[in-house]
Symmetry: C2
Subunit: 208 residues, 2 copies
């Protein structure tokens, strides 16, 4: 291939990628309409998934030093920024809803394929792989990302007189069992979180 036609093809490919990427960027705007059960700090206004994802990204940058293992912060950021995008199709599942399976439901996998599938092939595959890595939770990056995802609502509920624990009558042991996942990412954050949970019982905003 001549250099000129090679460069022309490269430009066409780049434009083709850009159009797909813009379609994806428009589609994910819908994450701003997906409401969580958890409320903002000191508030009764529900948080949406885009706000939640931004907050987890900020927490990742700020708290990365507390990870027990060395982590690729850029990878964790990608995880927390995209982890809830499947909820555009599949909806938010409340952490303490026992009627639903929380790991990688078929509905969520279809959603991942449809939404990330708007991107150029290579990028779509990368995003699906990152989302699956988060869901699986076995790499050091996924463990830290999940500890951020558990910590945010803990901070919110303790600032909201029990928040969703009070609203839905979630008892201490269930909260403790869910939050324990924080320990897989960071011992020091878990120590802090465990204290917060125990304090909540003492304050009467979490029932033992």
């Amino acid at each position: 291939m001549e250099l000129k036609s090679f460069l022309k093809n490269l430009k066409l490919m780049s434009t083709d990628n850009l159009l797909k990427q813009v379609a994806f960027i428009k589609e994910i705007d819908k994450l701003k309409y997906i409401q969580r059960k958890t409320k903002l700090f000191n508030s009764d206004r529900p948080e949406n998934d885009a706000e939640h994802s931004w907050h987890l990204a900020m927490m990742t940058i700020v708290l990365a030093e507390h990870s027990d293992k060395p982590i690729d912060v850029l990878k964790v950021l990608k995880m927390v920024l995209i982890h809830d995008i499947v909820e555009i199709d599949a909806g938010d599942t409340f952490m303490y809803d026992t009627s639903k399976n929380h790991t990688n439901t078929e509905e969520e996998l279809l959603a991942a394929k449809r939404i990330f599938g708007l991107l150029p092939t290579e990028q779509a595959e990368e995003f699906i792989a990152i989302w699956e890595e988060f869901e699986e939770g076995s790499t050091d990056e996924a463990k830290f990302a999940k500890s951020m995802d558990r910590l945010e609502p803990l901070l919110q509920n303790t600032s909201n007189n029990g928040g969703t624990w009070a609203e839905f009558g979630v008892p201490y042991q269930k909260v403790y069992d869910k939050k324990k996942a924080i320990k897989h990412g960071s011992t020091s954050i878990w120590n802090y979180a465990e204290n917060l949970i125990n304090d909540s019982v003492e304050k009467g905003i979490l029932k033992k």
Copy 2:
């Protein structure tokens, strides 16, 4: 110093950092209440700064390949995630408000010092430096971050029949002059954006 007391001090320092970081994490929740003039895609619901920052972070990950210069994506992500946090104290300034100076106002600098100042000293200094680098806009990372910040409302306004351009009567030349900054980050994204602006004139949603 003995090893034991050295380790004890290290643990105390880590706990001290964590408490400051949690205070910061709670404070920045307020970004979710700062409303922008721009509306969500195909919508008349205003976007807030946390949603906006999440969207820019997603755009950064997705569009980084179009940067004219090699960029440190993690650095750009930090920039776009924190770039509006000063607005918690200083408020949102509308891009086309000619009565206000948009670069690094004194009010914003005070806000940066107060809010990032909640973090441990080293981290506070890092965040203030990143925010200043973004505001200055001279590094390759800042240029790309700013092109994301200009592109999002362009995509929103064109999906909203002119959006804030129509609402506040902003003419073609003003829009063009502001959006031109996209070119400093990416020629290919600028080519796309320029077409979008010209199409908007043809469609009658932007007045020439």
